[in-house]
């Protein structure tokens, strides 16, 4: 019996068996469409339909929302979502498309919504019948979240929303949005409130979604404009003026630092040599030549690959150590590093991969001869989204310096 399983609770052990069993019997059919690298790059209805149907199936199999109460459509278990995630990843099943809903929407709703709203929204979120998006960023509030200007005005028992959100991934498929808005123009931090908003139902009736195109040429995120959208007060999370606090719950879970672990599966169709892992550069270097020998025999390339692998392994072991409190000074010191490190490491090794591929890295997605079907140039370009979105790296370092080391605030 391995050390890993030795520490599992009986519930976890039993659930692991269930997951394996279910996954062996319910492997999703191979997609007939080209699947994207990540859920936020879903471009077509065909892609979304396939992935949505898979998430629904996994939810029905009990592999999603495991640790949420049964009343909210969850499994009512304890610390079982990580088990399901491990098994889904090991089985190599496709990704879960409702990633914003699962990672940010669900925990925020769980902690801040009224019971009726939780019970109504969460089951449909878990099953991917409702796709969710998130509305934090604005043209004038990129990294400076407290500068949100989209305004919700109380008119009678309704709220009327006007404003402009940007970088909203999945908005072109979304049924709902979690949104941070201003309800008081005088008070920067206490003037924010937090709502859920039915987006799809309001298209053309107060809501406009405009797709933006990334430097990769792909779509995947959007601008969302609100023009006198009316919603009821039922859709408010927590108290008026508590939006900042609620947003912190969202961000905490986005950074993988919250209590509720986000359901996540594999990437299914992605090939072995895909652009997802620093270790994969070792194999990549065997496929390309430099100066008359294989890149894998160039000591300088080897050195750079090792640097990337060590940093990646360091982050993996950071995550492990963060759960051993006696080896951690401050409970948030490691969790708050996760997003910063993973995104910067990926950016660096994607750039290295292009160097390894040499001239062939010029070949892009549409080229029949592109190595790995152009996955590395794509990953390289997409890596910029990761170091900018959800709190740019600069802001992450401010947070770490100020919250963990107690350095003076930079504002």
């Amino acid at each position: 019996m391995s050390a890993a399983s030795r520490k599992e609770s009986p519930e976890q052990a039993e659930f692991r068996v269930h997951c394996r069993q279910w996954l062996s019997e319910n492997t999703p059919e191979k997609a007939t469409v080209r699947l994207p690298e990540s859920p936020v790059e879903i471009m077509t209805n065909e892609q979304m339909d396939y992935l949505r149907s898979w998430q629904k199936s996994a939810y029905e199999g009990g592999l999603i929302g495991c640790d949420y109460p049964k009343s909210q459509g969850g499994g009512g278990m304890t610390n079982c979502q990580p088990i399901a995630n491990q098994e889904m990843q090991a089985a190599g099943v496709p990704m879960l498309p409702n990633v914003i809903g699962l990672g940010m929407g669900a925990p925020t709703i769980h902690y801040h919504a009224q019971d009726a709203l939780k019970e109504r929204l969460l089951p449909l979120l878990f099953s991917a019948e409702n796709i969710w998006c998130q509305g934090f960023s604005e043209p004038g509030a990129g990294s400076d979240l407290a500068n949100v200007q989209t305004f919700a005005e109380k008119v009678g028992d309704k709220w009327v929303i006007n404003g402009h959100k940007v970088w909203t991934s999945l908005a072109h498929f979304a049924d709902w949005m979690i949104i941070l808005v201003r309800t008081d123009k005088e008070d920067k931090h206490n003037g924010l409130s937090y709502f859920v908003v039915p987006i799809k139902a309001a298209l053309g009736k107060g809501v406009t979604v405009r797709p933006l195109i990334k430097i990769t040429g792909e779509t995947g995120f959007n601008e969302v404009l609100f023009d006198n959208l009316e919603i009821t007060d039922d859709y408010r999370l927590d108290e008026v003026g508590n939006g900042w606090k609620v947003a912190m719950t969202t961000l905490l879970h986005e950074r993988g630092a919250g209590q509720l672990v986000t359901p996540s599966a594999g990437r299914g169709v992605v090939k072995k040599e895909s652009a997802g892992d620093a270790y994969s550069l070792m194999g990549l270097a065997k496929e390309f030549a430099r100066d008359g020998k294989l890149a894998s025999d160039d000591p300088v390339i080897r050195e750079e690959i090792m640097k990337a692998i060590i940093r990646q392994e360091g982050s993996k072991q950071d995550a492990r150590r963060s759960r051993v409190s006696s080896l951690c000074d401050h409970p948030m010191r490691l969790p708050l590093q996760t997003k910063l490190l993973m995104t910067e490491i990926r950016q660096d090794y994607a750039a290295l991969a292009l160097e390894i591929q040499g001239p062939a890295s010029s070949l892009y997605l549409g080229d029949d001869n592109a190595p790995s079907a152009g996955a590395w140039p794509l990953a390289y370009m997409n890596s910029y989204g990761m170091t900018i979105a959800a709190g740019a790296s600069e802001v992450q370092r401010n947070i770490l310096g100020e919250r963990i080391l107690g350095l003076a605030k930079s504002k």
Partner: protein, 385 residues
């Protein structure tokens, strides 16, 4: 030989550079460029070559293609410093044109003797666009590596494929590197010759086109042999410092644009009550962009000048210039996007045109690690086994 203090950048060179800068500013603005090349963002779109032929015609008219052609062949025969200055301006404009390809072809052909080379140089001086073909499938940066073979004496038959051929859709003539039992020779072949099959590549860089070219029993007469024996590889090697310097200059020019554009953005965009440039997390890396650009630019002019006046050091200085140029390309692309934030990640922002051009320049002629390894061989000797 010793270099002149001013890098050989005198009044003539300055006038050429200033004229080029003004011309490109007036005729090849970045919003015009974006409209020209970035109309269809779909990565799976059919491949098309987008460029403004009328700009090229004016470039020819202004004599840019004759700068590197010796006076004996009807060119201006100006120094490498002048050529580097032109390449810097072309990079600053991220200009889609066969200029760099034609210059690189010129630099190789002018290292060859004989009537065929003389004839070609004359055609270049008259504005005929040319491109080098011969890189192998592995993308090797060595002049002697090619997958194209030449068979026969006198009349020669070419077979095999040349990869990563630059701007061939804008060129009329291929300068083909091909291997025989005697070494690597050099041949001129029309793009529309029998047996030549040009397959366009779908590439990242929107400011260039690229193809791999299949040669199926392409017949080459003796009037098309620029260099026989191993003369092709030798000419390539002789021209390498100049090619590396020209490409480095393109990267420096593009880097300058990235710096300037980033400075303008961070001086405007406000976050947390200040313009972004106020924050040292932005200010200091932007200064580092400038520092690297300046070093690369100084190294480019030093290398260019060495090619003319200190040839024994040309290869050494060219590798230095190109290594730093590649590092400029990488770092400036990275920080420019990061500091533009979300908008820098969109297709509508012009940055991506430069990022992609820079990436292309970095990998196509030997990246900075390769240049440094080769520099070490020059300075320290080969690595003992």
């Amino acid at each position: 030989m010793a270099q002149p203090k001013n890098f050989g950048f005198g009044e003539d060179e300055k006038m050429l550079r200033d004229t080029a800068q003004k011309f490109l500013k007036d005729n090849a603005s970045v919003d015009k460029l974006h409209k020209l090349v970035a109309g269809n963002p779909d990565p799976y779109r059919a491949i098309e070559s987008h460029w403004d032929k009328s700009i090229w015609d004016k470039i020819v008219e202004m004599g840019w293609t004759t700068v590197a052609v010796p006076e004996s062949a009807g060119g201006m025969g100006m120094n490498l410093t002048a050529l580097a200055a032109l390449a810097e301006e072309v990079g600053r404009a991220a200009l889609p044109s066969p200029f760099i390809a034609t210059v690189n072809a010129t630099l190789v052909v002018r290292e060859c003797d004989g009537a065929v080379a003389e004839q070609l140089l004359g055609e270049i001086a008259e504005g005929k666009a040319m491109t080098l073909a011969g890189i192998n499938k592995l993308g090797s940066w060595k002049s002697s590596d090619t997958d194209v073979t030449a068979k026969g004496d006198g009349d020669v038959v070419l077979n095999g494929t040349a990869y990563f051929v630059q701007d061939v859709a804008k060129s009329e003539t291929l300068i083909v590197r091909a291997k025989s039992s005697k070494g690597v020779g050099l041949y001129t072949v029309a793009v529309d010759a029998d047996g030549v099959n040009i397959v366009a590549d779908s590439i990242i860089d929107l400011t260039r086109d690229q193809a791999h070219i299949q040669f199926n029993n392409v017949k080459v007469s003796s009037a098309q042999v620029i260099a026989s024996g191993n003369g092709g590889a030798e000419a390539m090697d002789k021209a390498e410092p100049a090619i590396l310097t020209v490409v480095a200059a393109d990267m420096v020019g593009a880097g300058e644009w990235q710096l300037q554009t980033t400075v303008e953005y961070v001086n405007t965009r406000e976050q947390f009550g200040h313009t972004l440039g106020y924050f040292q997390a932005v200010k200091h890396p932007v200064v580092n962009m400038m520092i690297m650009i300046d070093q690369a630019k100084s190294l480019v002019y030093n290398a260019a000048c060495a090619i003319d006046d200190e040839p024994e050091s040309a290869m050494k200085f060219a590798r230095m210039a190109n290594a730093m140029g590649s590092d400029v390309a990488s770092f400036c692309s990275n920080r420019a996007i990061q500091f533009h934030g979300g908008i820098g990640f969109t297709w509508e922002c012009y940055l991506h045109l430069y990022t992609k051009r820079q990436k292309h320049n970095q990998v196509m002629y030997g990246d900075s690690k390769y240049q440094r390894a080769k520099l070490a061989e020059l300075l320290m000797g080969p690595v003992a086994a």
